[in-house]
Each structure stands twice: as structure tokens, then as C-alpha cells.
Amino acid sequence: MMAEDFTAYAVIAHIGFDRPLSPQTIQQNVGELMSRIALDCVGEGARLIGHIKCLAETLEGGAIICSVTTEDGRATSSGRVPSSSDLLDVILNVLVYGLSDDRIEEIVERDIPLVFPRATFELEGFHHDHEHEGHDHSFVQFEEGQR
């Protein structure tokens, strides 16, 4: 198994907006979020991106699947959400080599408000270390400006 210095970071980001965002804006921002996370992982020392991917869903139905595999942060996405929404759940998997869970979480916490300004968000985390031991079911909750 190719697990040396491998980190599988998984989290659900529950993101609330101050007003409904259009499907196009949601699609664009989800792609931007994935690109930023990938670029920041590389910038902070990840030696190899395995797969950075997400499934973003709104209460109104539909889903956007977005993925980054290269160090240039280029995101490919498929799917769509059908209508404007003020809530978005993003299941995020960051599978990289050479970066710890904690560093990845810092990146995610930093990038969400950059991409979704004026949003509030909670991270529901389920981390898995590369030793196959010790699941960390931490629950991180804060609002922008309260950190």
C-alpha cells in the first residue's frame, strides 16, 4: 500500500450564506475552493497530491462533484445544483502526501471564508491517520470573525 506520509483528511463543511447564491456562483465558488485548497497544500509542502475532491449538495437537491489531481490546482467538476440556495454541505476529501491532518485543516478553515465571504460555516471532521489507527471524530465549530 502506498501509505508512507499519506494523509486522508475528510470533513463535511456546513456553509451558510447571508443570502441565497445562484447555482452558477455556487458552482464557480466550489471549484475555486478546491483549487485554493490544492494550491495551498502544495504551497505548504505537500509532496504529491493524491486526490482532492468534494461533493457539494444543497437542500434544494442536485450536487456538484469537483476534483483536483494536479499541482496547478486545476479543478474539474460535473453536476449542478438546480436553484439558488443559502445553505451548502460540502463533503471534502483531501488525500495528499507530506502534509499533516492539522495543516490541512488549517488550510480548509482559512480558504472557506476567502471563497465564501460573509458566510458562516461549521466543520464536521472525521480524520483517518495513515497508521489505520485512532479515528479522530473532532467537531470544529465557529463563525467567521469569531476565531
Binding site: K53, I65, N93
Partner: protein, 199 residues
């Protein structure tokens, strides 16, 4: 009943390939397909994506079926075979799995027998050299156990890079079908389906 292991490094296009070809295989053959999806992370995405695509999926999150989840895999496989009674079981291990271990684990499988077991390996041509350089042994194993190899994402690179990978496979003595594809764009998917439905 047939078992097909879909292997390949993280992000190579395993889930997209299953989504793209399963429908066509069902239409061509009328066969019932079940998917066993192993995600390394606690909150998997791919199984949800496959289910959204209308496939019957048994999820195995939180570990790797090529090592720590070997026993769970055999139990899951037996359960899928007995309850869903599929004609084809597609197994998608996590992208860091070594398929050799899965094939070895099948030696302990005691459920209804499979007529044939095949492995389809998907190589991400964009990162092929980098990933191979990082993990020559495991990626080499993925290549060596393959019955079909997809050289995927050819739409994202130049002809030279594709030729480089094809030459590498030739020098390695690979004699199985090698299909250059862009699964996302649908390039050569008909050839992949043809290989999969081949009796």
C-alpha cells in the same frame, strides 16, 4: 458470475470509469452489476457518486481492503454475492491499494465461485511518471496484474506523453490490451466496454 477489480492510483479516474461503462455494459448484456467501493476516508464521496449514478453499491469506508480490511472485504463480497446475486461484481479499492493483495485474499474466498476474475488498471497519463517515480513497486504491481490497462486523460497531454507511457508498457513486456482513453470525454469508451463484455 465475474469479478472485476478496478484499480489505479488516487484520482486516476476509477469511479468515473465505472460510472461511464457500467450503464453500457448493462445495456449490452442485460447483466446485473454490483459495486463494492472502498474509500480510505471516513466520509467517502465516491460511493455516493456511484449511487447517484443509479448503481447498486456496497460501501467499505475507513481503511484499505488490500491490507487491514481484507477479512471485511471477503465478508462484504460474500454478502453482496448472496444478497444481490449479481452477474458482475466491480470492486473499486482505494487508490493506494495494491491489487496483488486483493487477488491473494481471494484465495480465502469461500462464497459462490466466480467464473472469471479480471483486473482493469487505470493509469493517469498526466501524472504517470511522477506517480510511478514515487511508488515504482506498487504502481508496477498495478500494471503487472492488469488484464486490461486504460491510459486515461489523454485529452490533457500531448501525443509524446501518451507514446512515452505506451513505450514504457511495451518495454515492461505488457501483453494485455492497452486502451488510451479520456473517460471524461468519452474517448474510446466503446473499446473499453467491448473488452469488458468479451466472453
Amino acid at each position: 458470475m465475474e469479478l472485476i477489480i478496478i484499480t489505479g492510483f488516487l484520482g486516476s479516474g476509477k469511479t468515473t470509469t465505472i460510472l461511464s461503462v457500467a450503464d453500457q455494459v448493462i445495456k449490452r448484456t442485460g447483466k446485473r452489476i454490483a459495486v463494492i467501493k472502498n474509500d480510505f476516508g471516513k466520509v467517502g464521496i465516491d460511493a455516493k457518486v456511484l449511487k447517484r449514478g443509479g448503481l447498486t453499491v456496497q460501501e467499505m469506508p475507513s481503511g484499505c481492503i488490500c491490507c487491514t480490511l481484507e477479512a471485511d472485504f471477503l465478508e462484504t463480497l460474500t454478502e453482496v454475492v448472496n444478497t444481490i446475486t449479481p452477474d458482475i461484481v466491480l470492486v473499486e479499492p482505494s487508490g493506494i491499494a495494491n491489487p496483488k493483495n486483493i487477488i491473494a485474499a481471494m484465495g480465502e474466498y469461500a462464497g459462490p465461485p466466480f467464473r472469471r476474475t479480471r483486473t482493469m488498471t487505470i493509469l493517469d497519463i498526466v501524472r504517470f511518471r511522477k506517480v510511478l517515480g514515487s511508488f515504482p513497486g506498487p504502481i508496477g504491481d498495478q500494471i503487472d496484474v492488469a488484464d486490461i490497462i486504460l491510459v486515461n486523460k489523454i485529452d490533457e497531454v500531448g501525443r509524446e506523453q501518451v507514446d512515452d507511457a505506451l513505450s514504457f508498457l511495451e518495454r515492461r513486456g505488457i501483453a494485455v490490451p492497452v486502451i488510451p482513453t479520456s473517460v471524461l470525454k468519452g474517448t474510446n469508451l466503446d473499446i473499453v466496454v467491448e473488452e469488458l463484455v468479451r466472453a
